[in-house]
């Protein structure tokens, strides 16, 4: 009886602690499968993903690579706030927001956002909200490198 009681308490506290957000900043290659796996849930009818990729030109000028720098502890806090806001604003089950730092080549992936929901609309909206807000509030900066120089993006909005 006692062991049964312990087991049920353990199960309840496990489900209560279930992580609904996954936040990461890494200099490793971002893992789309991991972002998918994190949000996958049997109660959901769809998973939406936004994948940012490094474009080869900016306003007609050829970009060779992008260098991302972060204020990492604050950036993680701000990304966590966005994820929690998305959970409260939209009817989603889970959300992952992963961002890369360091030098990225053309075609590489600086950001992945995935969201799962019972119905697709909430997942689409959550991804759009998360990337739009990330671009406004999260302390991450990119420097574009060209063949003849470099420029901090958005420094003079």
């Amino acid at each position: 009886m006692f062991s049964y009681f312990c087991l049920s308490v353990a199960l309840v506290s496990e489900s209560h602690k279930m992580q609904r957000t996954s936040i990461k900043i890494t200099s490793d290659k971002l893992d789309l499968q991991a972002c998918y796996n994190f949000v996958e849930d049997d109660s959901c009818g769809g998973i939406s993903a936004f994948i940012g990729t490094v474009r080869n030109d900016t306003q007609g000028k050829e970009v060779t690579q992008l260098d991302f720098s972060t204020y990492k502890p604050m950036a993680i806090k701000e990304m966590q706030k966005i994820a929690e806001l998305a959970l409260s604003k939209f009817d989603i089950k889970k959300i992952a927001i992963h961002h890369a730092e360091g030098m990225l080549q053309i075609g590489a992936i600086p950001v992945i956002i995935t969201a799962s929901a019972k119905h697709r609309k909430a997942a689409f909206l959550a991804c759009e909200f998360a990337i739009d807000t990330l671009k406004e509030t999260v302390p991450i900066w990119k420097k574009e490198h060209f063949s003849d120089g470099e420029i901090w993006v958005n420094a003079h909005p």
Binding site: Y71, H99, P110, K135, W152, A155
Partner: protein
């Protein structure tokens, strides 16, 4: 008091460092702190706007700095 101040993005180029200690009076507000920065680093005028974070949270102009606070100068962000 001495305030540890972190610089990011384009502001590291303007001040020539990513971390400095800046001496300010007691009861300095964020607004006052920005004036100090403007005097010390005239190149900061080259950007139209920047935010200040204190202890990893965005701060408003009225916040008063305390001993041990860590300030960050946050130029317009460009993640994603």
């Amino acid at each position: 008091m001495n305030i540890k101040t972190l610089f990011f993005g384009i502001t590291t180029d303007y001040v020539g460092a990513s971390e400095l200690h800046i001496d300010v009076e007691e009861n300095t507000s964020i607004k006052d702190f920005k004036s100090v920065l403007k005097q010390k680093f005239t190149q900061l005028e080259n950007i139209n706007t920047y935010a200040i974070a204190v202890n990893e949270e965005y701060a408003t102009d009225g916040l008063i700095l305390k001993i041990g606070d860590v300030v960050a100068v946050i130029p317009p962000v460009s993640g994603g």
